[in-house]
Symmetry: C2
DNA sequence: CAAATAGTTTAAGCGTGCTGAAATATAAAG
DNA sequence: CTTTATATTTCAGCACGCTTAAACTATTTG
């Protein structure tokens, strides 16, 4: 029998998604980035740097697709492709300052509603929620991706 | 000065997104649904039913785009377009049983990792997290979208 | 060094999603 | 009843993301 917490977290996730995804998609459209592009930017941002086929694997596409997607990011000045010094068959991908700015902006767009929720909590409640979320975050660090 | 809870929740949201989005995208690719299609299915699912331009507005696209997107959903047997009895200029969109099943499957795909986290918590910790999340959920019900 | 292997890119082709403009159908107003 | 407004659809055209297959380039191996 699964604990009641699981169901609660599932509902929480559904609610979060409804709020966040809408903002995220609207941000993408307004700024003329595709979901695929933002997804790639987020992944590179999170890893700091990565190879082409590595990126493709993470996104579940071929390396040809990853290479083409990257073309557009480079062309827009959001990413840089450079050679791997140790094995020149590989390329190393980094974000430019502009690319990192996009990621931070998109995250902020997604999180706008959070502040409203926090403001509805009393200081004691805030502390209670803070402790609980930190607990979850700690446990999640042990999971892989 | 913003409360520390806000920063904690923001990090929590980032982590959630990284875990959930990957599963979600892979689900979409494996089952050959586009993000746009799943997005539309989720929105119709959540509202129960809706009009065409209403759907377009929510997704931030023209009603022409919404109509075309819907064509494919109908063709795949996931949605139904029917006339509004009271104003026959409008169409009312519903999901079929198959459409609802897809939404539930996609949600489950996104939530797979939650169980792992819950299992790492002691019963006391589970109760603590449960209480906190319920508190957040209650406050969020008062927000709009 | 020649051959096999590995990582990336290029090219052709397909399906999708989008837009703007025109067409269609219904409803409401004068 | 004619005009105007509203909701949806159709159409042409464009950009994107993807795949497979072929082409490069660099490394490793026999």
């Amino acid at each position: 029998m699964s604990p009641p917490l699981l169901a609660t977290l599932q509902e929480w996730l559904r609610v979060i998604m409804r709020f966040s995804m809408r903002n995220f998609m609207l941000y993408a459209r307004e700024h003329n980035y595709s979901i695929a592009q933002l997804n790639a930017l987020f992944r590179i941002y999170h890893r700091g740097s990565c190879g082409i086929s590595e990126l493709g694997d993470e996104m579940g596409v071929t390396s040809a697709a990853a290479s083409q997607l990257l073309d557009r990011l480079v062309q827009q000045g959001l990413a840089i492709r450079s050679e791997d010094v140790h094995d020149r068959r590989n390329k190393v991908v980094h974000l430019t300052e502009a690319g990192r700015a996009i990621v931070q902006e998109a995250m902020a767009a997604r999180q706008g509603w959070l502040e409203e929720v926090v403001n509805q909590l009393t200081p004691q409640e805030q502390q209670q929620v803070e402790d609980a979320i930190r607990l979850l975050l700690d446990k999640m660090r042990t999971l892989n991706p």
